[in-house]
Symmetry: C2
Subunit: 118 residues, 2 copies
Amino acid sequence: MVDHDQQNHERSCCPIACALDHLGDKWTLLIIRDLLLGKKRYQEFLESPEQIATNILANRLKKLEATGFLTQQVYQKNPVRYEYVLTKKGEDLRQVLQALVEWGKTYYPGTEVFKPYG
Amino acid sequence: MVDHDQQNHERSCCPIACALDHLGDKWTLLIIRDLLLGKKRYQEFLESPEQIATNILANRLKKLEATGFLTQQVYQKNPVRYEYVLTKKGEDLRQVLQALVEWGKTYYPGTEVFKPYG
DNA sequence: CTGTATCCAGCCGGATACTG
DNA sequence: CAGTATCCGGCTGGATACAG
C-alpha cells in the first residue's frame, strides 16, 4: 500500500509528463505551497483557505512521502506526531511555484499569496 | 455548456489555487506543452507519446477555449476544421513549463522534451 | 490535535464505436 | 482527418463520524 519508489507511471520520457504524474491534480501543489510557506502540521494545512478535506489531505501527504517530496519528523511521542518537511526535491519546486504565482497574479488580478516566498 | 467567463471556481484568492482550478489535472498542461511546441491540430495532439483519449482531448480543448487559453481558427470549411492556437494568456505559461522542465530533468534523469522550447 | 474510516455522488479517463 | 458518443470501473473529493 505504501508503495515506495515510483510505481508504474512514467507515461512518457517527458519531464512534464513525469512531473504531472505526481503533481497533476487539484491539491498536491497547494500542499507544496503551504510547506514552502513554512507550514508543517496537519492542522495548519487544514486551515488554508481552500478547505481541503481530511481524507484528501492524508492521502496526498502519504503519496508525497512515498514519492520523496517530503519526510515525516517525529515531534512528539505517545501518541506519535509528525511534522512534514520538504526534501530538496520538494524544495526545488519553489521556482516552479514562483513562476506560476507570477503568471497567476497577472491573469487573476487581485489574487495574492499570503506571505512572499523566499 | 460553453460557459465563457470563469465559473464559480476561485477556491481562494491565491493565484496558485486559481491556476490549479484550470490547469490542475493530468492532461491540460500537456496540451499546453504541445501547443508551445507548435502543434495545432487534433491529430497532432493524439500522436503525443502520452496517448490521450479522444474524449478527454476534446473536453480539454473546449475548456481551454472557454477559459481563454486558446482560440480556434478555421483552416477548412465544409466540414469546418479548426486549428488551436494559444492566446497570450496561454503563451505566458511557457515560463512556468520551462521551470517545470528544469525541475523534471533533474529529478527524472533521462527525460527530455522533444524539441527545445523558445 | 492528529489523524483514520466510511458513505456516496460525481468526475476522470481508458477503450471503443460511430459520424461526416 | 476531426470529432462526438457511450459504456464503465475507479478515483476524487465533500461531509461526517470515529479513535488515540
